[in-house]
Symmetry: C5
Subunit: 98 residues, 5 copies
């Protein structure tokens, strides 16, 4: 699992049935301090996230299928939760409300 | 899951039974803006894609088997859908029809 | 599996049900000698670890679900154990009590 | 899945039962044009490949177990098929018979 | 699967039940010629390997669980066999007895 920021959306009207009706968000991994790092991925939204949100993402098929409650989903990357705050060695380095 | 462009084809007439009769396409990962980035992979086509198409790809065995509807498929990489448009921070960065 | 140091915490009050009530720790992979190396990840604690602890981490969904005793957990990264000592070519390079 | 060239063999007489009697080949990933790129891996042969052959390889446990027809195989990397030709943007970049 | 050299040990007395009583070895991936390359990992020994041995390692949960004969093992990396010799393009590049 890793921290990421939602940076965009992808529209894919013609696709396999498992993806129909799902929201595809682009997520960019970030360091604990919030710096962009690593490859952008396409994730399925499961919590109502939007562009700009700091989120927790899982990138593994079995986990994704469990979270979506669909054992047949051909999906690997899913947004699991919103991140409210991040603390590094006891010091707050990210606060959603700040 | 990641964005990719279909860039070529692979012919493999002698193979394990699970691959026979399937179309093998070469896909190259691209950034949201469409710049090539990362290693080319061989994917199984599931939607009728061709060279030049922008597509959504999954690279995980469990997902691939679900999409192909074949629990016995020894296949890991599958094209899931066509990409019509990509938006980054609210700005359109790719439009298939443009 | 890899060696890591616990370096921080993440608070995620709004999330999928599988993550509720679990402790999210930031872990940074380290070399046998303890030098930081590689990307920070978010792991679920299963042993009561805290910031500063040297730990053994697994990063795979099936393993994570087994350790947590929950076949439905949409979780990939889990802390498996505390590391007491590390020996490299017969020479002690890390000792928790030293 | 990726393209690779078979570059060598590995002899491992003392091993877990799942590996006994199987041929271990060293495969090196190649670009569509055939240039070596990426880490050499050890793959199980399933089609009778030999040193110098261009092949299609899958690197995932579930896929490998399906191809080998053995749900208990503790094996991750398997050669799936011979590659006869590779076409890039409509231009032939590899032909086995050429 | 990849070639590796056993370079050390890890002691982890307080851990999840699945790891108790197992030997944790540090393995470093090597090239066919034996040069160290890539990240050191922690593997479970299944064959009686020791520091200095050249071994074959699998790094995938499903494979690891099969080899250990324990479907509940939360373990990803396992040593599969001893390597006696490695041949590259028909030329011997490693011989355990030499």
């Amino acid at each position: 699992m890793f921290l990421a920021e939602v940076i965009g959306t992808v529209v894919s009207p013609i696709s396999v049935p498992e993806l129909k009706g799902r929201t595809h968000l682009m997520v960019r991994p970030v360091t604990p301090e919030g710096e962009a790092k690593g490859k952008t991925k396409i994730a399925i939204d499961s919590i109502g996230a939007g562009v700009g949100d700091r989120v927790l993402v899982v990138d593994e098929g079995g986990s994704a299928r469990q979270v979506l409650g669909d054992p047949d989903a051909g999906i690997r990357t899913v947004i699991l939760g919103f991140v409210d705050s991040v603390s590094l060695h006891g010091k707050n380095v990210y606060d959603h409300l700040a």
